[in-house]
C-alpha cells in the first residue's frame, strides 16, 4: 500500500437557515482517503454537498456554523512540517492527539469550538475562535500543500489583473524569486504545460477576454504553479464542450504524473470521473453512499452496487447504447431537500430495491457503510452482514 496523503473522517457541515429557524445538514458523514499520486473521484448529483466537502478541506466554508465535526488528516511536505506543527500547537492549552503517523489533523481544535445540544437540536459554535485557529493552520497548507480549482471558472480569475501577473503571483507562493524574468519564464512554462501555445500573448490578456476553455486552463496552470501535494478540482469540465472536456482531463492527468501530485476530481458526471479516477466516492444527500476502486463502481457485478450508483452509472450512455439509439435512463424522483430530518436511508423515496422485509429497516434506520470486499463499502441495508 502506498502512502496516504490525506484522510478526511466523518466530516459534518451544517448551516443555519434563518428563515426556517433550523439547521441544514449539508454534509453529514463524509470520509475519504487519498493516497500519493492517486486520482480520487467524488461524484453525485448537484446539491449533494461535493463543493462543501472540498471547501471544508480548504478551510474556506463561508456560513455559520459551517464545519461542526470531523477530522482531516493531511501529510504536509517535508519543508512545511515544522510550520504546521507550530500552527497546531499555538494557543493549545490542552494536549491533542492531532497526529497520526506522518499525517496531521488540520481540524485540530474543532471540538473546542463546537457544542451540540440534543433537545431541541442545536449546534453552538464559536466562529471567531475557529477561524483564528483553523486560519493559522490552513495558511501554512494552502498553495504549496493543498490547492483547489474552483467550480465557477469565469469568476475565479481576478478581472483587474492580467493573466501573466496572476500566474506570477501564484509562482511566488512557491519560490519567492525576485528576478522578474525568471518568474515570467516560469509562468510561460506553466501555460505551455496546459497547452496554451502562445503564452506571451495570453499573459498580457485580461481574464474576460478569455474563452471558458482558456480560463479553465489558465486556472489549472495557476493551481499547478505552487506544485501542491493535493489538488482538488471542482467540476473542472462543466460548461465545456466534449472535446475540451477530454483535453482538460488529459491535462490534469499529465500534470499529476509529472508533479508527483494527488488529485481529487469532483463532478456530477460519472462518465468524466471514470476516465481518470483510480478510486471513486459516490455521494448522495450529504452522505458517502459507496466507495471503491473504479472497476467495482463502474462495472461492478450485478447486485454488488448501491442502488443509487447503479442508477447513476446506467444514466450514462455507453457507445453501444448510442449506436442502437437507446433511450437514456434517468433517475426517477428528486434529490431530497437536506433540511429534511432523515431518519432512515435518504435514498428510500427513489429506491427500487426497498421492498418486502427490508423496507422497514430502510425507513427507520440509516444504514452504515458496510464492507463488501476489502476497500469497497456500500451504505445500504441490502449489504448488511
Amino acid at each position: 500500500m502506498s502512502r496516504q496523503i490525506a484522510a478526511l473522517e466523518h466530516l459534518k457541515v451544517y448551516f443555519y437557515d434563518q428563515g426556517d429557524r433550523r439547521f441544514i445538514r449539508a454534509v453529514e458523514d463524509v470520509g475519504l482517503t487519498v493516497e500519493q499520486k492517486q486520482v480520487v473521484g467524488l461524484v453525485g448529483e448537484s446539491g449533494c454537498g461535493k463543493t462543501i466537502t472540498a471547501l471544508s478541506m480548504m478551510g474556506l466554508i463561508d456560513g455559520e456554523p459551517g464545519v461542526v465535526g470531523g477530522r482531516f488528516f493531511f501529510r504536509p511536505k517535508e519543508e512545511d512540517r515544522r510550520a504546521l506543527i507550530f500552527a497546531i500547537m499555538r494557543g493549545n492549552r490542552k494536549k491533542y492527539d492531532c497526529r497520526k503517523g506522518e499525517l496531521f489533523d488540520l481540524f485540530c481544535g474543532l471540538d473546542d469550538c463546537v457544542r451540540f445540544d440534543a433537545d431541541p437540536f442545536t449546534v453552538i459554535k464559536d466562529p471567531e475562535k475557529w477561524l483564528r485557529k483553523n486560519g493559522r493552520i490552513m495558511e501554512q497548507m494552502r498553495g504549496r500543500n493543498i490547492s483547489m480549482v474552483f467550480q465557477n471558472t469565469r469568476e475565479a480569475l481576478n478581472p483587474f489583473v492580467t493573466v501573466g501577473s496572476q500566474l506570477v503571483r501564484a509562482v511566488q507562493c512557491l519560490e519567492n524569486d525576485k528576478n522578474r524574468a525568471a518568474l515570467a519564464a516560469r509562468a510561460e512554462e506553466l501555460l505551455l504545460s496546459v497547452r496554451i501555445f502562445n503564452p506571451g500573448y495570453v499573459m498580457n490578456m485580461y481574464p474576460d477576454a478569455l474563452s471558458i476553455g482558456m480560463s479553465q486552463r489558465v486556472l489549472i496552470a495557476i493551481a499547478l504553479a505552487s506544485r501542491p501535494g493535493l489538488l482538488i478540482a471542482d467540476e473542472p469540465t462543466t460548461g465545456l464542450d466534449t472535446t475540451n472536456k477530454h483535453r482538460i482531463i488529459d491535462l490534469l492527468g499529465e500534470n499529476m504524473e509529472r508533479g508527483n501530485m494527488s488529485l481529487v476530481i469532483i463532478s456530477h458526471n460519472i462518465g468524466i470521473v471514470r476516465t481518470i479516477a483510480d478510486r471513486i466516492y459516490v455521494m448522495y444527500a450529504g452522505l458517502i453512499v459507496e466507495h471503491g476502486n473504479k472497476k467495482e463502481i463502474v462495472t461492478g457485478r450485478k447486485n454488488a452496487r448501491h442502488p443509487y450508483t447503479e442508477a447513476l452509472v446506467s444514466s450514462v450512455p455507453t457507445d453501444a447504447d448510442i449506436k442502437r439509439g437507446k433511450k437514456l435512463k434517468v433517475i426517477e424522483g428528486v434529490v431530497p431537500d437536506n433540511k429534511m430530518e432523515t431518519e432512515g436511508c435518504p435514498f428510500l423515496p427513489r429506491c427500487r430495491y426497498a421492498k418486502g422485509g427490508i423496507r422497514r429497516k430502510c425507513r427507520t434506520r440509516r444504514p452504515e457503510l458496510f464492507e463488501v470486499t476489502s476497500g469497497h463499502r456500500i451504505r445500504c441495508w441490502l449489504f448488511a452482514g
Binding site: G135, E139, A156, N158, P159, F160, Y206, P207
Partner: protein
C-alpha cells in the same frame, strides 16, 4: 482608446456646461449686490464679457484694495489646495487601515472599538477640534505662535504648517465614511470567488482584493469629499490663520470686493468640477482595463 476619448469629451462638455451655468447664476445674483465688477449691469453682453475674462484668466485689479487679483487669489488658492489635499491624505492614512482591519472577520471583536473611535473623531466639529488642539499645543509644548504662517519663522514653522492639515484631516467627517465604505466593500470583495480562489492557492487576500475592494471605493469617496473638505477648510483657515481662499473670500465679502469674490467662486467651481472629471475618467479607465 478612442472610446476613452469619446467618453472624455462628453464628460468635458458636461463639465463646461456646468461651469457656464454656475457662472451665469453667479452673474445674476452678483448683479443684485451693491458694488461693481467686469460686465456688471451689461445684460447678456456683460455676462459674455465676464466669461471671456474668466476663461482667459485675465482677472484685472481689485477696485477695493487696488491690488492685482491674480497675485492675490492664486497663492490663496494654492494654500487651500495644500490644506485640502494634505488633510485628505491624513484622513485616508487613518481611515484605510481601520477599514481594512474591520473587514477581516477573524478580528471582528477587536475592530468595533476602532470603528467607534472613527465615529467619535468624525463627529467632533472642526472648529472645536481646532481650538482644542491650539490650546493643548500652546499650553503644553510652549511652541508659540502655532497659528500663523507669517509668524512661523519665529515659532515652529513645521508645527504651524502641519497642525491645520492634521486638524482638518481628523475633523472633516470623511474618516468614518471611508472606514465604512472601504470596510464594507473590502468585506464584500473578500467573499468573491476570485479572492477566495486566490486564498485557496495560498495567496494574500488583500493583494487579490485591493483593486475592487480598496482603490475603486477610495477614489470615488475621496473625490466626492473634496467639496465638503473645502467647506471645512474655510473654518480651519480662520482658526489657524491659514492664508487660503476661505479667509480671502471672507475678507472680500466684508469689503464688498465683488471682482475678487466672483473669481474665487469661479475658481472653486472649476476646481471641484475638474476633480469630478478626473474621478470619472480614472474610474472609467479602471473598468475598461477589464476588457
Amino acid at each position: 482608446m478612442s472610446r476613452f476619448l469619446k467618453v472624455f469629451s462628453r464628460e468635458l462638455a458636461n463639465a463646461l456646461l456646468l461651469v457656464i451655468g454656475v457662472t451665469a447664476i453667479l452673474y445674476l445674483s452678483f448683479n443684485l449686490m451693491p458694488g461693481t465688477f467686469i460686465g456688471k449691469g451689461g445684460g447678456v453682453e456683460g455676462y459674455l464679457n465676464l466669461l471671456k475674462r474668466l476663461f482667459s484668466f485675465r482677472f484685472g485689479v481689485s477696485p477695493v484694495s487696488g491690488r492685482d487679483i491674480k497675485s492675490l487669489v492664486l497663492p490663496a488658492f494654492r494654500n487651500t489646495l495644500l490644506l485640502t489635499f494634505g488633510s485628505l491624505f491624513v484622513s485616508v492614512l487613518i481611515a484605510v487601515p481601520i477599514g481594512i482591519f474591520s473587514a477581516y472577520r477573524r478580528f471582528k471583536s477587536y475592530s468595533w472599538a476602532l470603528s467607534i473611535f472613527s465615529y467619535i473623531i468624525s463627529s467632533i466639529p472642526v472648529f472645536f477640534l481646532g481650538y482644542l488642539v491650539l490650546y493643548v499645543v500652546a499650553r503644553y509644548t510652549g511652541f508659540l505662535p502655532v497659528f500663523s504662517v507669517s509668524a512661523s519663522a519665529r515659532g515652529m514653522p513645521f508645527l504651524s504648517f502641519v497642525l491645520p492639515i492634521v486638524v482638518l484631516g481628523l475633523g472633516n467627517d470623511s474618516i468614518s465614511e471611508i472606514v465604512r465604505l472601504v470596510g464594507g466593500e473590502l468585506e464584500r470583495v473578500m467573499s468573491l470567488d476570485y479572492v477566495i480562489a486566490a486564498k485557496a492557492r495560498g495567496e494574500n487576500m488583500l493583494q487579490a482584493s485591493v483593486h475592487e475592494g480598496i482603490v475603486i471605493p477610495l477614489i470615488s469617496i475621496v473625490f466626492s469629499k473634496i467639496p465638503f473638505i473645502i467647506g471645512g477648510a474655510v473654518v480651519v483657515e480662520h482658526v489657524f490663520n491659514w492664508p487660503g481662499m476661505g479667509r480671502l473670500a471672507f475678507q472680500a465679502t466684508l469689503d464688498r470686493d465683488l471682482p475678487v469674490l466672483i473669481i474665487i467662486a469661479f475658481l472653486s467651481v472649476l476646481f471641484v468640477r475638474t476633480t469630478t472629471l478626473l474621478k470619472d475618467m480614472i474610474l472609467y479607465s479602471y473598468r475598461t482595463s477589464e476588457s
